[in-house]
Amino acid sequence: MNINKLAGFSLGLLMVLLLFSPSLFAQNVLRIDGSSTVFPVIEYATSYWKNNPPITYSEFWPAEEYGIDTDKNLADYWAGLYGLDKFRVQKNLSHSGQGLRKVAKGNVDIGISSTAVRFEYPGKLEKELNKYTPHIIGYDRQAFSVSKEVYEAGCAVLTKEEIVGIFKGTITNWKGVNSCNYDREIQAVGRTVGSGTETMFRVNLFGSAEVSDLNGVDVRQGQNQMVKRTLVSSNNAIGYPGVEFITDENPAVEVTWDDGATYSVEDEGWPLGRPLYMYTWQGTSKKEAAFLRMILSDFGQDVFVEQNTDYYTLSDSEQAYQLDNLPEVE
């Protein structure tokens, strides 16, 4: 037998072992998967967690500013609240549906979703849905946005009836919109059916996702970027991209809603919003709670939601409610 050969193969074997070892020793990891909408918040939270800044770096871990009395590093403190050591956080970007599927299967600990689970699975029994434990960490808003040419033609305020008409196909020309003086057919841009954004759009506008006659929608796009691109490259389009995708080339319009009031996208009460969910499965473990508590705290809301994304934070009462839903700290 050739001893060199044997050595070579042993080395190969060892490398294979090393390759697989992360999955064998994956016990002390918090796994997160799901919606690309919620993902930016998670990404910032995870990078802070991973870098684990010490208390002396008050720029990144301003504990004192938020009335937190500790001398521990950031992640050590939040994990320590539940008597845990700092654990690793593994995040993966996919879709709401996948996050919800994986958390139910136990493939991940937290499934992030931009839509409530009851809208994602309308056919599921209440008993099954209740196994998903929801945590709302902030709000996203979609704007109604139009092509620049449309905006410049004076179409700056739309009523709810007009928007419904456009997406149902009963209004097909911009002439049919009251504030407009623009003779051009309307191109209505929707989102992929089944996606969190589309589901919440339907719920917000029609009260239910099961609307079968949205015949006015001409184009459906899978991402905010593509919606924006379509609005910008056209001269007749309307769509509902996320607030952060509004530019001078595709301005947001104001809407007059059910109550007769006119809202701009920054106003309290803007009708096209949706909560950002983090779902745990059948209650919330200490490990999950430690990470969630960091995001739900004043510190997390400010840093991860307010400063680093274009999303909207929870109101004080909502925040208190969400924190109450987590397991008690030790």
Binding site: L17, G194, R202, V211, S212, S233
Partner: protein, 343 residues
């Protein structure tokens, strides 16, 4: 000494069989993907190969080569059976409605592929209408008329066209072509059937050109020379002798091109409007629509439960149509080759 005894007891054929079995397990391992248990199975296979290599290098090498060469076929069978198992439920309830119905409503849980099949047909026909004349003409020119230096430029150029990633085609189409067509024809929507047809035509062009050129090349030169000797012009000889002889090969090229256009996904997904309804009137290529491939690509990420089944059904349909197209094309090609070999 002991080695020799062992070698006698274990015949190479038995060893071959066991290594093949082991290789299939490896494939299976990758297929069910990295569950903890499979790690040990995988290690077992590696250990088996290591031991085999040390004691019976020749037969192990032979078996590994065999396993590697059959892996493509095995994977094809695995894919086909997976699609069959997952896609069949969609056809079971009401197969006729599933194929020709007109509604795809994820929220109402009503699924039929009619508009997407129609979309695929329109887009593929459009692409073929562009690629077929261009491809066959360039095949004739490159094969028969082009001087050597020009041929040296044209042939690689066409092949390079095939090498451009489809996402680049899709990007150009989405950013430039969609808008240009919208302006030029004064249409109110991006993402009609028309623009992806053009892009797909360019993508199918290299396939058609190179296979058709092979077919024209395969026609024995004495046929053409015989005609020339009778006093016809070169074009007459090509028209009356070469092209009819190569016709089945050219047909094969067209079928391959159609298969390519029908199966292409990325470029279409980026350009098309994803409207899951029949255009009205049916032949209106300037309406936004959806094809089978772009349906799967755009919705699989958001799908759950029943809609996954329906998408798997779409995948199954697409798989067999494209498979049938390429098998047909192969059959025609081999018939052509046989004919000339006998002749």
């Amino acid at each position: 000494m002991i080695n020799d005894q062992l070698k006698e007891k274990i015949s190479p054929r038995f060893l071959l069989a066991s290594v093949v079995f082991i290789s299939f397990s490896v494939l299976f391992t990758f297929f069910v993907l990295f569950q903890t248990f499979n790690v040990y199975l995988f290690l077992l296979v590696v250990a088996g190969v290591v031991i085999g290599w040390i004691f019976y290098e020749d037969s192990t090498a032979k078996a590994l080569l065999f396993a590697a060469s059959t892996s493509a076929g095995t994977i094809l069978i695995l894919i086909a059976s997976f699609l069959f198992i997952r896609g069949l439920p969609a056809f079971q309830e009401d197969p006729i409605f599933f194929i020709i119905g007109s509604e795809w409503d994820v929220y109402g849980e009503v699924y039929s592929l009619g508009p997407m099949i129609w979309g695929s047909i329109i887009v593929t026909l459009g692409a073929t209408a562009l690629a077929a004349p261009l491809g066959v003409s360039s095949a004739i020119f490159i094969g028969k008329f082009a001087p050597k230096w020009l041929r040296g430029i044209l042939k690689p150029a066409i092949e390079l066209l095939a090498g451009i990633p489809s996402v680049v085609y899709g990007f150009l189409g989405f950013v430039l072509l969609n808008r240009a067509i919208m302006d030029y024809f004064d249409i109110s929507n991006l993402g009609q059937y028309f623009a992806p047809s053009i892009i797909l035509g360019f993508m199918a062009l290299p396939t058609i050109a190179s296979v058709a050129e092979d077919a024209i090349d395969a026609v024995p030169t004495h046929l053409e020379k015989g005609a020339l000797a009778l006093g016809v012009t070169k074009w007459q000889a090509i028209k009356e002798v070469t092209l009819p002889s190569a016709s089945s090969g050219i047909t094969a090229a067209l079928i391959l091109g159609i298969g390519r256009a029908m199966g292409e996904t990325m470029a279409v997904t980026m350009m098309i409007g994803h409207k899951t309804a029949f255009p009205s009137p049916l032949y209106d290529i300037f309406e936004p629509g959806e094809t089978l491939t772009s349906l799967i690509a755009s919705q699989i990420g958001e799908a759950s439960g029943q809609s996954i089944d329906a998408l798997m059904g779409a995948g199954l349909l697409l798989f067999f149509v494209v498979l049938a197209l390429s098998v047909t094309s192969r059959l025609i090609q081999s018939r052509l080759q046989r004919r000339f070999r006998q002749g």
